[in-house]
């Protein structure tokens, strides 16, 4: 939901935590896409790869690219222009931090080059914060378990075993340390179509009757809008016309999110929403879906092509589903004994 009343985005916002670890969107062998930010990977990070003048960059940064989108998106903050954003920053009480951050340089936005450079720096600053230990704390119970500082309960251990075994979660949500001993990120940054049904309560479906100043509807397709995920992005990515031929085989695929903080919430009673469209409201529901997707009781997938067939009929018992949920709850940062 945006700064302008009645304007809604089309997907559940992805988490900023641990997002800075995602590499630049790229195509690997076996035609697998990896990286980027947003559910469909459209914040590829390539912009920052080619704009080293923006600062201290030595590599692409999808998180920085993602961070800049909401400022100008008409269904989010709806600022008029990059210069308008910079103007507000220059007037803010924290403007002094700008000169500290950029070696004494003042924030200017008089020319196209200044606007381009400094707007990119805004994205860099947000990504720098999102990459800080304050956001990526690695302080969950599971982190301490990996350091032999705490024990998991028997149910959590059972859940971990299922997570890595029969439930096949770890195939994409990596749960083991990296080769250099780095803590797991619980994603492999790939894309998948799990056959998630449409969320009939997605307010974006009503946006066919909400209009932008130019008279166009925010969602001209209304209820008929379908989220094609990565495939939809590849089909129209002007920076990589060579990827358009791979769009069909990626229709319906969404970014594999980290599961860190998957149960984290600001307070008891706060209802979280899961999957790209927020259709599920509890971890139990998510796990049950993975377990029983193919039993004929669920609504049809939003996109039926390119379905992941590893899940959908896992044969887990109710108690085993509960054990996986118990394990997932150990992934919340800020664990205190």
């Amino acid at each position: 939901m945006g700064a302008t009343p009645q304007r809604f985005g089309n997907r559940k916002p992805p988490s900023a935590a641990y997002a800075t670890f995602s590499p630049v969107l790229h195509l690997e062998e076996e035609r697998i896409f990896i990286g980027g930010n947003f559910w469909n990977g459209r914040a590829t990070g390539e912009h920052y790869s080619s704009n080293l003048d923006a600062g201290v960059l030595t590599m692409g940064l999808p998180a920085a690219e993602q961070a800049l989108v909401p400022f100008l998106n008409p269904v989010e903050q709806n600022n008029a222009s990059k210069a308008d954003v910079l103007k507000q920053i220059a007037k803010s009480k924290y403007a002094y931090l700008w000169t500290e951050a950029w070696d004494g340089e003042e924030l200017t936005y008089d020319t196209h080059d200044e606007i381009s450079l400094n707007y990119d720096r805004v994205g860099l600053a947000i990504a720098a914060y999102e990459g800080s230990p304050e956001v990526n704390a690695f302080s969950s119970k599971y982190d301490y378990y990996l350091q032999d500082m705490v024990d998991l309960t028997s149910q959590e251990i059972q859940g971990l075993d299922l997570f890595n075994g029969d439930a096949m979660c770890s195939g994409c949500h990596i749960s083991e340390r990296g080769s250099l001993g780095e803590p797991p990120l619980f994603t492999d940054f790939t894309f998948n179509n799990l056959g998630v049904p449409k969320n009939p309560y997605n307010p974006f479906y009503d946006e066919d009757e909400v209009f932008l100043p130019d008279g166009s509807a925010i969602n001209p397709l209304g209820d008929g809008w379908i989220d094609y995920g990565l495939g939809g992005f590849l089909e129209n990515d002007s920076n990589h016309p060579e990827w358009a031929s791979l769009a069909t085989e990626n229709m319906g695929k969404q970014k594999v999110p980290t599961l860190r903080n998957v149960d984290k919430r600001p307070g008891n009673g706060f209802t979280k929403a899961y999957m790209h469209n927020g259709v599920f409201k509890s971890l139990k529901e998510v796990v049950h879906f993975y377990n029983t997707r193919d039993d004929g009781t669920w609504p049809v997938p939003e996109v039926s092509e390119n379905l992941n067939t590893d899940v959908g009929n896992l044969g887990l018992t109710d108690a085993e589903e509960d054990a996986i949920v118990a394990f997932l709850k150990t992934l919340s940062d800020g664990y205190v004994k």
């Binding site: 935590a17 947000i126 914060y129 919430r265 600001p266």
Partner: protein, 73 residues
């Protein structure tokens, strides 16, 4: 700050079964707001600047949630 936290409480209470969660990042903003007076020097100036942007970006987005949520189907 207390007003913002109060807003968060209202938002939380409005987010029920049929709502999309408006942001996975509320806990992060909540945490930052609660710890904002603490300057332990752990963030660089660039990260501090980014934190301000992060909060402003987030809070502008949430400021309209309550009235919008109330009129939704």
């Amino acid at each position: 700050m207390s007003g913002i936290l109060f807003l968060g409480l209202i938002i939380s209470s409005c987010t029920k079964e049929n709502d999309l969660e408006f942001s996975d990042n509320l806990y992060q903003a909540d945490y930052v707001l609660k710890s904002r007076k603490v300057n332990d020097g752990s963030l660089t100036p660039l990260q501090q600047l980014g934190r301000e942007f992060f909060l402003i970006k987030f809070l502008i987005l949430t400021a309209w949630l309550v009235p919008s949520a109330m009129v939704r189907r």
